[in-house]
């Protein structure tokens, strides 16, 4: 229920604008990504990506098992950023506004880990 609500909110609000100024902002709609991370076989297939400040990373789940990306508070991220669960072929994009190393997990599969290095 909660994730459905979250998805609805995402669709309704221009969240990118709301989050401007924060280290990480959600990007909705068509976007140019500096890095694409595929999720398959219980893994982030590119567990480490390097981008420049202001660039966007897009995650795509390629399997029926839902996954997300979840940045815990700490480091460049002030508050938890818990992405919605992605079903097969759904995507999620984040723009990174500050340099640093951003570690993340998949909420229900904490053994799935990845990082975004923003230079």
């Amino acid at each position: 229920m909660r994730s459905i609500l979250f998805a609805a909110v995402l669709a309704a609000l221009p969240l990118a604008a709301a989050h401007a100024g924060e280290a990480v902002e959600v990007v909705t709609g068509a976007t140019a990504s500096a890095a694409d991370v595929k999720i398959a076989k219980m893994k982030f297939q590119t567990p480490e990506v390097k981008i420049k400040v202001g660039e966007t990373v897009t995650w795509t789940n390629t399997e029926p098992l839902p996954h997300n990306v979840h940045f815990k508070a700490g480091g460049p991220v002030e508050k938890d950023v818990e992405g919605p669960m992605l079903r097969a072929n759904q995507t999620y994009s984040l723009k990174f506004n500050a340099p640093g190393t951003y570690n993340y997990i998949c909420t229900p599969h904490p053994f799935m880990t990845g990082k975004v290095i923003v230079e």
Binding site: H70, K72, I105, T107, P110, F111
Partner: protein, 410 residues
């Protein structure tokens, strides 16, 4: 929370105190029930004699007898209710001799010398919502009074159907270790002796906690290896992985049996293959695997199933395994049979027909053990003599969905 808890306990005590003196005497003795006279009838007879002798009632708070090897703890998570219960049972008399309240999906442990039992607990300020508090409560096994209440910072407990080895005591009973699943795998170290939370040890993607000695414990990892975690002085912890000891297609169950006293880990798969690992040296020694069921039986649909599907008796080196004929993916459904297996040779000694739908097995660790068979559906603990395979007693009305049996290897 503490105050609310204490007042509840006080109310319970007041209730207990209503027991009359004669009843009290009977409770204290916890004598075996003769076939001819039930415990209730014996109490009534004693109370009548007490009254006839003109003696007054002298209500008091009763204490359970000194713990022994036949003390059985039965934990009832109540099908994921916010409040749970621990029943304390005397196996000899087949009677409840105490109870303790627990929070949401508590993890029970019992000191190997019987000196205390403890629950790693979770409570909320508004029953099932509001402020969450994780804590460890250490209780006196005779009075069930709290000995210690140790807060765990930042709600680190893994909330899951009760797996006994997600929380463990070191052999000296001075340290409790508990598992954290999210946001990263870790093991919390609780100083029971010093009554304080110590630290979280970050671990690889591994599960369960089997203390090999007071300084180190083993875990089972996603890749099929074990991890040995050595707890160093001043937080200098070390993690070392063993070889991969099983295939990805070997599904090891969530309720292995572990005997800290001889370091034996007995770990069945869905099909009844038994992995045995000897951790007594502080290193993992993988023993030859054993098939609990024959090819023929497996073809006929026989497989292990239940909650605590396996028990291990240290002195006789025997394995007890719940089995039945079942459809695939019915591995959590109860079983009606227990296999008795020689752990050394893998030979089947006996197949006990339990006569009930049994979810969990336990065994007392004395020389002539009692086999405990718990039915979650019937909410009853059945007691068997594993030598004869005969049912010798039972304790019913054990809450809403009792699942976990704990005994002490004293």
């Amino acid at each position: 929370m503490t105050h609310a808890y204490r007042s509840t306990r006080h109310a319970l005590r007041t209730g207990t105190a209503l027991a009359g003196a004669a009843a009290l005497a009977a409770l204290l003795l916890a004598t075996p029930v003769s076939a001819a006279e039930s415990h209730g009838a014996a109490m009534a007879r004693e109370a009548a004699a007490h009254l006839a002798a003109g003696k007054e009632d002298d209500p008091t708070v009763v204490k359970a007898p000194e713990p022994n090897a036949r003390r059985v703890y039965v934990y009832d998570a109540k099908h994921f209710a916010a409040i749970s219960q621990q029943f304390i049972i005397d196996g000899d008399s087949a009677r409840v001799i105490g109870m303790a309240d627990g929070g949401f999906m508590a993890n029970p442990v019992v000191a190997s010398d019987g000196s205390f039992f403890a629950l790693a607990n979770t409570v909320f300020s508004r029953i099932a919502r509001g402020q969450r508090t994780d804590y460890v409560e250490v209780l006196d096994p005779r009075t069930t009074d709290p000995i210690a209440d140790i807060a765990l910072p930042d709600a680190p407990r893994f909330l899951v159907g009760t797996y006994p080895w997600m929380t463990a005591l070191t052999p000296n009973n001075k340290t409790m270790l508990f598992y954290q699943f999210s946001p990263n795998p870790a093991v919390g170290v609780v100083d029971i002796a010093g009554k304080k939370f110590d630290r979280l040890i970050t671990v690889p993607d591994c599960y369960h906690i089997f203390p090999a000695n007071d300084q180190s414990f083993f875990m089972h990892c996603r890749d099929g290896s074990l991890a040995k975690v050595t707890m160093g002085a001043d937080g200098k912890d070390e993690v070392k992985k063993t070889e991969i000891f099983h295939k990805e297609s070997d599904h090891l169950i969530n309720h292995p049996a572990y005997s800290p006293k001889n370091g034996r880990l007995v770990w069945p798969t869905y099909t009844g293959k038994l992995f045995q690992i000897d951790l007594s040296s502080g290193d993992a020694k993988f023993l030859p695997t054993v098939e609990a069921l024959t090819d023929e039986e497996r073809k006929d649909g026989w497989a292990p199933g239940g909650w605590q599907q396996v028990a291990y008796h240290r002195a006789t080196d025997r394995i007890y395994l719940l089995v039945d004929q079942r459809a695939p993916s019915r591995h959590k459904a109860p079983s009606r049979f227990a296999l008795v297996i020689d752990a050394k040779t893998g030979k089947r000694i006996k197949k006990i027909e339990l006569g009930h739908e049994i979810d969990s097995l336990g065994v007392s660790q004395d020389a002539t053990p009692q086999l405990y068979a718990l039915s979650t559906g019937a909410r009853t603990l059945f007691i068997f003599d594993p030598e004869t395979g005969m049912e010798t007693g039972k304790v019913d009305q054990l809450g809403a969905g009792p699942q976990v049996i704990t005994t002490a290897d004293m």
